[in-house]
C-alpha cells in the first residue's frame, strides 16, 4: 500500500476534500487528511464558492437601540441630498450589522495570539477586541455620553447639527468616551459605513447601487473592451451588481 493514494477521482465532490475536514484517504498507515490531486484538473459541479447574499430581516447583531443610533450616524456620515440617498436608506446600517454578525465581526482568520502589547503606529492594530466587541463597547459609551450631555436623549433623537457635533468630536478625539478610544471608534465606523455605501449590494448596503451611481462606477460589468478608446466619453451603460439589476429580477425586491 502506498501512504497516499493518488488515484482519487477528480470528479469526486471537491467539498468533500476541501472543507474543514478534508477527504479521508485510506492508506496502509491510517487515514490521511489532505487532498491528493493527480492525473487531471479537479473539477466537480456545484463546488464554486459564491458569496452569501444578505437578505432583509431583523437585525442580526445590533439591538434595536444600537440600530437606531447607527442608522442616525450613517445618515450624517453620508447625508441624503439631491445627489442621492444617504447612508440609512442605502442600507449602510444593515451592511454593518451583517458584517459584524459574520466572520469580519469576529476577526476570523486574524492573528489573535497573545501577548497583546501596545506598539508604534507603524506596527498596526494590536488590541485583542474584535470589530463586534468594539462596536458593542463604542455604542454603549457613546449612548452614555450623549445621554449625560443632552439631557437624557439618545443620539438618534438629537438634531442633525448636534449629531454632527458629536461625530466631529469623536473624529477629533475632543469627546472622550469611557474606556473607548473615540477617534479609533469613529474611524472604524466611517470605514465600515463607506464600505457599505460602495460595496456590491449583495452585502446589504449600496441599495439600488446608490453609491455607484453617485460616482459613475458601472459595478460588476467586467468587460469594457469596446469602450477603452472612447476617451473623454461617459460610459453609456448603467451599473450592474453581482445579483444583476432590480429591473432584471422579479420578486427579489
Amino acid at each position: 500500500m502506498t501512504g497516499v493514494d493518488k488515484r482519487v477521482s477528480p470528479w469526486l465532490s471537491r467539498r468533500l476534500f476541501l472543507g474543514s475536514t478534508a477527504a479521508l484517504i485510506v492508506s496502509g498507515t491510517g487515514a490521511v487528511r489532505a487532498l491528493s490531486i493527480g492525473g487531471a484538473l479537479p473539477w466537480a459541479p456545484g463546488t464554486a464558492t459564491p458569496p452569501t447574499v444578505v437578505r432583509p430581516g431583523p437585525w442580526m447583531f445590533f439591538t434595536a437601540d444600537e440600530a437606531s443610533a447607527i442608522e442616525a450616524a450613517v445618515d450624517r456620515l453620508i447625508p441624503p441630498d439631491d445627489r442621492g440617498p444617504g447612508g440609512k436608506d442605502s442600507g449602510c446600517a444593515v451592511f454593518i450589522d451583517r458584517q459584524l454578525a459574520g466572520p469580519y465581526g469576529h476577526s476570523e482568520g486574524l492573528y489573535t495570539r497573545p501577548p497583546f502589547m501596545p506598539g508604534a503606529a507603524t506596527q498596526g492594530y494590536q488590541m485583542p477586541d474584535t470589530p463586534a466587541a468594539r462596536y458593542r463597547a463604542g455604542l454603549k459609551a457613546l449612548a452614555d455620553y450623549v445621554k449625560a450631555t443632552f439631557g437624557g436623549k439618545p443620539f438618534q433623537d438629537l438634531a442633525p447639527a448636534d449629531q454632527d457635533k458629536v461625530l466631529g468630536g469623536l473624529e477629533s478625539g475632543s469627546i472622550e468616551l469611557k474606556d473607548v478610544k473615540s477617534a479609533a471608534f469613529f474611524t472604524l465606523l466611517l470605514q465600515n459605513t463607506q464600505e457599505g455605501y460602495f460595496a456590491d449590494p449583495i452585502y446589504g448596503g449600496n441599495r439600488d447601487m446608490a453609491g455607484w451611481k453617485l460616482v459613475g462606477f458601472p459595478g460588476a460589468r467586467y468587460d469594457y473592451r469596446d469602450w477603452v478608446e472612447h476617451h473623454n466619453e461617459k460610459y453609456p451603460l448603467p451599473p450592474v451588481s453581482i445579483m444583476g439589476r432590480s429591473d432584471w429580477t422579479v420578486g427579489e425586491h
Binding site: G3, A34, L41, G109, T122, Q123, G124, L167, D200, K234
Partner: protein, 587 residues
C-alpha cells in the same frame, strides 16, 4: 511522530509560479514529483469565475484569496531597539495562499531588471567611486548576468504571453518600446494593450518634457494566446479587477492559466493541498536533505522522503523554513556574519495624484498592468553624480482600476464625511488620476529577517521577524523621482496636484507592494549568500530555492515576477542538465 511515506524524486514546497514551473520541467524530464501546498486548491471556474470575481469587498478589502494571519504571519519592527509585534491583519503587503500563490492575485506587471542591475555594486563603484555608497549598504552583484538570464526571461514571457512593445531587439533600438531596456531576443509574444485617456495624457506630457513613454509590459493579454505548453489564454476585458483578485477571463497569466492544465496531466506529478511543510529534514551529516515533514489539516504529521527538495514558498516563508531546518548560518546584524535572513529589501514607491479639468477618465476601465511608463530615472539610466543617492525606478500612469471602496479621491482639504465629502466625491471620481513611481530598495546591514523570540504560529514554531526601515538613500531617491514625476504631471495642466514622496518610517499598515525580497540571497561567495548561482544551497546540495524573490540580493526599480520566473527556468535547466548527471554542489 511523523508517518513516513514512500519516497519521491522531488518534493516541492509551495505550488505558485516557481513551484509549478519546476514541477512541470522536472516531471517532463521523467522525475516523480510531489508538490506540497499549504493552502487550498484554486481554479478559475470554482474560485473566481466572472459571476462574482468582481467583488471588491470580498477580495480587495476582506482579502479572501490571501494568506490568513491565523495560519501564518510575521512580526515587524522598524529597528533593533523596538519590540517586534505581530502583523495581526495583513495590509502593508499581502502574501498569497493556495495553489497559484501570489501568481493568482498579482497585477501582471512584467519587467526585466536592467543589465547593470545584475552587477550593481561593481557597476556603481566603477562609475561613481567606492566612496559613493553608504558604508552600511550591503548591495552586491548577482551571480548571474543579464546575458545569461535573457533566454530564461524570454521563456517566462512566452509562458505568460506577455503584451508589450520591445525597445531593444538584439541591440537594435525599436521605436515605441523602452529605450533603456536590456536586449531582447524577440518581440513580446502579444502586442501592447490599448490605453485609456489618463495614460494617453501622461504619455503626451512625458514626450513634451523630453522623455520616452512606452506601454507597460503586461501579462494581462491584449489578445488570445496559446503558450508553448499548449495552454490557451483569453483576451483581457479591461474589467479593472486584477490586483488582489483572480482573473475570471483566463486573461491574466498565472499558474492556473499558464501551467497547471498541462502539469496536472502528467501522471508522475501529484499535488497535495492543505499540507503545510514544517521542516526540511537533514541526514546525520547535515549536508544532505532526506525530505520534508508536513502537517495536514487534521494535524496529522507526515514525512515525505525525496532526493531533491525545492523551496518554492513566498519569500518570508522560504527564509523561515531554512532557519527552522538549520540550513545555512543565520545572519547576525551585530557582526554582519551569517547569511540566512540577510539583505531583506522591499520597494520604495511614491505617487503624484492629479485632478484634471473637465475630463471623463473612466478610471474603472483598467487592467493591472496597462498604462504608459517612462524608464528614464530607473537604475543607473541617469547620471547620479552630485545627487546624493543611487538607485531609481520607473514611473508613469499605471492606475489599475477605479474600484470605489478603495479609490475615491477628493480635493485637498475636503472633510472625510458629510455633505461636502459627498459632493466632492461625486464631482472628482471621473477627473482624478494617480501617477506613481516604483523605486528600488537596496539592502542594508540592519534590514533583515530572523525568528521572533516571542510569537509563535499555530504549530508553536517561531514567526518570522522583520526588521526594516527606509534609509536616507531611498528617501532621497524617492524625493528626486517624485519631483521629476510632478514636473510631467504639471505639463498635464491639472486643476490640482499632490506629490507624495515616500517618507519614513516604514509603516507596515500602508500598502505599497508585495515585493518582499532577500533573506536567502544567491551569490558568488558563501560568506555573503545562502545559495550559489544555480539557486542551490551552499550547505545542503539537494536543496534549491528556485527563484523566489527571497534569492534577490537587493531589490531593483521593477516588479519582481519576470525575474522570479526567469530564475525558475534557469534553476530547472541547472537541475536537469547538471545536477541530475552528477548530484553534488554545482557552484
Amino acid at each position: 511522530m511523523a508517518r513516513k511515506l514512500p519516497p519521491k524524486d522531488v518534493v516541492i514546497i509551495g505550488l505558485g509560479w516557481t513551484g509549478s514551473i519546476l514541477a512541470y520541467e522536472l516531471a517532463k524530464a521523467g522525475l516523480d514529483v510531489v508538490a506540497l501546498e499549504r493552502g487550498p486548491w484554486r481554479d478559475t471556474a470554482t474560485d473566481f469565475p466572472p459571476a462574482y470575481a468582481q467583488d471588491e469587498l470580498r477580495y480587495a478589502v476582506r482579502l479572501d484569496l490571501f494568506l490568513r494571519p491565523a495560519q501564518d504571519t510575521l512580526t515587524f519592527r522598524n529597528n533593533g531597539s523596538q519590540t517586534a509585534l505581530p502583523i495581526r491583519n495583513f495590509s502593508g503587503f499581502l502574501p498569497g495562499n493556495g495553489v497559484g500563490g501570489a501568481g493568482v492575485h498579482w497585477n501582471g506587471q512584467t519587467w526585466r531588471f536592467l543589465p547593470t542591475d545584475f552587477k550593481l555594486r561593481s557597476h556603481l563603484e566603477e562609475r561613481y567611486g567606492k566612496g559613493a555608497l553608504p558604508a552600511d549598504m550591503t548591495i552586491q552583484d548577482w551571480p548571474v548576468s543579464y546575458d545569461e538570464l535573457e533566454p530564461y526571461y524570454d521563456r517566462f514571457e512566452k509562458l505568460c504571453g506577455t503584451s508589450g512593445k520591445a525597445g531593444n531587439i538584439r541591440g537594435a533600438k525599436q521605436a515605441g518600446g523602452n529605450p533603456f531596456e536590456g536586449w531582447r531576443s524577440s518581440e513580446y509574444p502579444t502586442p501592447p494593450l490599448k490605453q485609456g485617456l489618463g495614460a494617453t495624457l501622461f504619455a503626451e506630457a512625458a514626450r513634451k518634457t523630453g522623455h520616452t513613454p512606452f506601454p507597460q509590459p503586461a501579462s494581462n493579454l491584449s489578445e488570445a494566446y496559446t503558450n508553448p505548453l499548449g495552454v490557451k489564454l483569453g483576451q483581457c476585458t479591461y474589467c479593472g479587477f486584477c490586483e488582489r483578485f483572480g482573473c475570471g477571463n483566463y486573461a491574466k497569466s498565472s499558474p492556473q492559466t499558464c501551467v497547471l492544465p498541462a502539469l496536472m496531466r502528467l501522471s508522475n506529478f501529484e499535488a497535495r493541498t492543505e499540507s503545510e511543510a514544517t521542516k526540511i529534514n537533514l541526514d546525520s551529516t547535515g549536508k544532505r536533505a532526506t525530505g520534508v515533514t508536513y502537517v495536514d489539516t487534521s494535524g496529522g504529521e507526515w514525512e515525505q522522503p525525496a532526493n531533491i527538495v525545492l523551496l518554492c514558498a513566498f519569500s518570508f516563508f522560504n527564509v523561515q523554513l531554512m532557519l527552522l531546518s538549520g540550513i545555512g548560518k543565520p545572519y547576525d546584524p551585530q557582526t554582519g556574519q551569517g547569511v540566512v535572513g540577510r539583505n531583506y529589501a522591499y520597494q520604495t514607491t511614491s505617487g503624484v495624484s492629479i485632478i484634471l479639468k473637465d475630463k471623463i477618465l473612466n478610471p474603472f476601465i483598467a487592467t493591472g498592468a496597462h498604462g504608459m511608463i517612462i524608464d528614464d530615472y530607473n537604475g543607473d539610466n541617469f547620471d547620479h553624480s552630485g545627487l546624493g543617492f543611487v538607485g531609481g525606478g520607473y514611473m508613469g500612469a499605471g492606475q489599475t482600476g477605479g474600484r470605489p471602496i478603495q479609490t475615491r479621491p477628493v480635493p485637498k482639504g475636503t472633510p472625510k464625511w458629510g455633505a461636502q465629502w459627498k459632493k466632492a466625491t461625486a464631482e472628482t471620481y471621473q477627473k482624478a488620476f494617480s501617477l506613481s513611481t516604483h523605486g528600488s530598495s537596496y539592502s542594508y546591514k540592519d534590514c533583515y529577517l530572523d525568528l521572533d523570540p516571542t510569537y509563535k504560529d499555530r504549530f508553536g514554531r517561531p514567526l518570522m521577524r522583520m526588521t526594516f526601515d527606509f534609509h536616507d538613500n531611498e528617501l532621497k531617491m524617492s524625493a528626486y523621482l517624485t519631483e521629476r514625476l510632478a514636473e510631467i504631471a504639471k505639463a498635464m495642466d491639472p486643476a490640482e496636484m499632490t506629490a507624495s514622496p515616500r517618507k519614513g518610517p516604514y509603516n507596515s499598515t500602508i500598502y505599497q507592494t508585495t515585493h518582499n525580497t532577500g533573506g536567502t540571497v544567491m551569490g558568488a561567495d558563501p560568506a555573503d549568500s545562502v545559495l550559489n548561482r544555480y539557486c542551490q544551497s551552499w550547505d545542503v546540495h539537494n536543496v534549491f530555492v528556485p527563484g523566489g524573490a527571497s534569492v534577490f540580493p537587493q531589490n531593483h526599480g521593477y516588479n519582481p515576477t519576470d525575474t522570479v520566473g526567469a530564475l525558475a527556468y534557469w534553476t530547472a535547466d541547472a537541475i536537469k542538465d547538471r545536477y541530475l548527471k552528477n548530484p553534488g554542489p554545482l557552484g
